[in-house]
Point group: C2
Chain length 358, copies 2
């Protein structure tokens, strides 16, 4: 049976000031009229029924998730007591799900990706499930349409044998986010795909891989598994999590495991990592300005201005500028600098006052 685990633990700092600690990016309407979490959920629901969709997130976002997803039962929230990156989170989810269904196949999805159309996604998921049942950890590798430097890459090798509706390859190697020069080379080579960060695997296969490559994590997970459904459960999870190494599933498992497959899907994918990425999803006016709210522009072009109805934003003589107002938080950022928005949050935190702006 296919299960989905939606990872909704991100901080979304690069989407400040709309994204804040209390309501990060995945709980916001960034690209569509639904929040990114809702988009992710309804991408698989109802084909995967609500009782088989789990959400991994921090305790502080429990209420917001239940508000946004009526179909999710509180028992399907997999709460990390402290953030320890993706390996412990996915390990915990696999542990919880496999204790209910020992043959479970799990699709790990990020709550903040743009994927469309939905039919192509479900079709890819179905094929990936088949490969996963054969013991592969299956990734989705997106064919690059530009030399992106903000994604990791998967170098693929041989086609996988089997009756699949998609091209599926064995994986030669995972590659870090490249320089522009290297990204150009990858694109020319034709054997490098963007690592979309989605994984489909049998729970027992993943836990087996963790036993081999991350034995400390595995031992902790097994102790948690024993406690599930007992009065000790919460205490054990908290104890074990605090001791887990903070490590991503990519470093912990994917780069070491020998049965990784990469499916080349036919859907459009983007992780919308920053405000500047919005231009790939929203259409600007004839001067390349994407706007919302009450905005006046004079002699300006190629900019993103997101205001609200409570105030007016006037842009005069500006180019390549991102302006976002959200309540009492206003960002004015050059498009080339949107990776540095995190530094604003660091500076606010360092000051120690006005923490409500974070």
């Amino acid at each position: 049976m296919l299960y989905a685990v939606i990872i909704a633990g991100g901080k979304g700092e690069r989407f400040w000031p709309r994204s804040v600690r209390a309501r990060p990016k995945q709980f916001q309407r960034i690209v569509t009229a639904r929040t990114m979490l809702q988009e992710t959920f309804y991408r698989v629901y109802p084909e995967i029924p609500g009782e088989r969709i789990f959400i991994g997130a921090g305790e502080q976002h429990r209420n917001i998730i239940l508000e946004q997803l009526e179909e999710v039962d509180g028992g399907n929230l997999i709460v990390e007591p402290v953030g320890r990156n993706t390996a412990p989170a996915i390990g915990l989810a696999s542990c919880v799900i496999s204790s209910r269904d020992s043959e479970a196949v799990i699709a790990v999805l990020s709550a903040d990706h743009v994927v469309k159309p939905r039919g192509a996604f479900l079709s890819a998921l179905s094929d990936a499930e088949k490969a996963a049942e054969q013991g592969y950890i299956v990734t989705f590798g997106i064919e690059p349409d530009r030399p992106a430097t903000e994604f990791g890459y998967i170098e693929v090798a041989e086609p996988l044998k089997g009756d699949f509706g998609h091209e599926i390859f064995t994986v030669k190697r995972f590659r870090e986010k490249p320089s522009l020069e290297l990204a150009e080379e990858y694109r020319m080579a034709g054997t490098f795909l963007w690592n979309s960060g989605m994984f489909i695997f049998r729970a027992d296969v993943l836990l087996g891989a963790m036993e081999k490559y991350m034995p400390a994590l595995y031992r902790g997970l097994m102790r948690i598994r024993t406690s599930l459904g007992t009065a000790e459960e919460q205490r054990v999870i908290e104890e074990e999590f605090s001791g887990f190494e903070s490590i991503s599933i990519d470093y912990g498992v994917m780069e070491r495991f020998d049965r990784i497959a990469c499916l080349k899907p036919r859907f459009f994918w983007d992780d919308v990592g920053s405000w500047g990425a919005l231009e790939r999803h929203l259409k600007g006016d004839e001067r390349g300005i994407i706007r919302s709210g009450n905005v006046v522009t004079v002699d300006s072009e190629s900019s993103i201005v997101l205001g609200d109805e409570e105030s007016i934003i006037a842009l005069v003589g500006m180019q390549d500028t991102i302006v976002v107002k959200e309540g009492g938080r206003i960002l004015v950022c050059h498009k080339n600098a949107d990776q540095k928005i995190k530094d604003v949050l660091r500076k606010i935190a360092e000051r120690g006052e006005n923490l409500s702006y974070l």
Copy 2:
């Protein structure tokens, strides 16, 4: 006796969003802790007593003026029923004052200039009064320290004879705001001074010049003069004003009158015509950023960010940018484009909604 008339009728549109119709620039704290009107008033008060200081302004600003200047009597407000530029306004003031004191000397001052130090100003005013008593209309001509293109110029000729503490010249010609090239030439020539827009004259001399060069205006003013203190006064002023041509004192009188003198004062002067001009008055930090309110900057320089305590403004990767938040109005403007802020107001007015933002 010396009187002051402070012209406070400007719209201050280039200082939007702080300056709005209900409270233009001159009623705002732009450069110092006092409003520009207050700065202008206390530049001459108490050396000129309150009963000899008049304020020319629109009816809608009566209350704000009386709030800001406790020493001014409501009777010293010279209210223009409709804006008709400076010639009718100064004519009306001269008419009102000369009906009280036929030998009055009047200093016309703008409510939105920066002048310092005060002692140098009072000293120049005293000398200008002497020249005015000899029948001259006296201007203050500022020695250029840069090839400014945003000011008009006065080309001076011969030194005026007399026992003055300042250099005072006869005037050869008034010059429009020049191109940069011409402004450079003016500065090299040494005989071109910035027209500060302040005038000192005997009321009877100015009215005599108006009789000669602006006879229609003069006739209207004389009809107003006859009505002063009668029950008809307000009605007559309204009737006459609506028929006056809208014309500046420079075009109407100064460029035609043959007894213009130009005093070269020893004070610093600036008309602070736009946000960008603030850099001449406020010191930025080590990266050239002038800031007020709750502001965070990352990798930014050479900018002006004026916020408030109700919200936070973050500037990331920006240069040469002006950001001003005032209530629900937010401006993001390139420094080179601050002359185009007026277009924002035009666009808001054209839309016909949100007029409260003007």
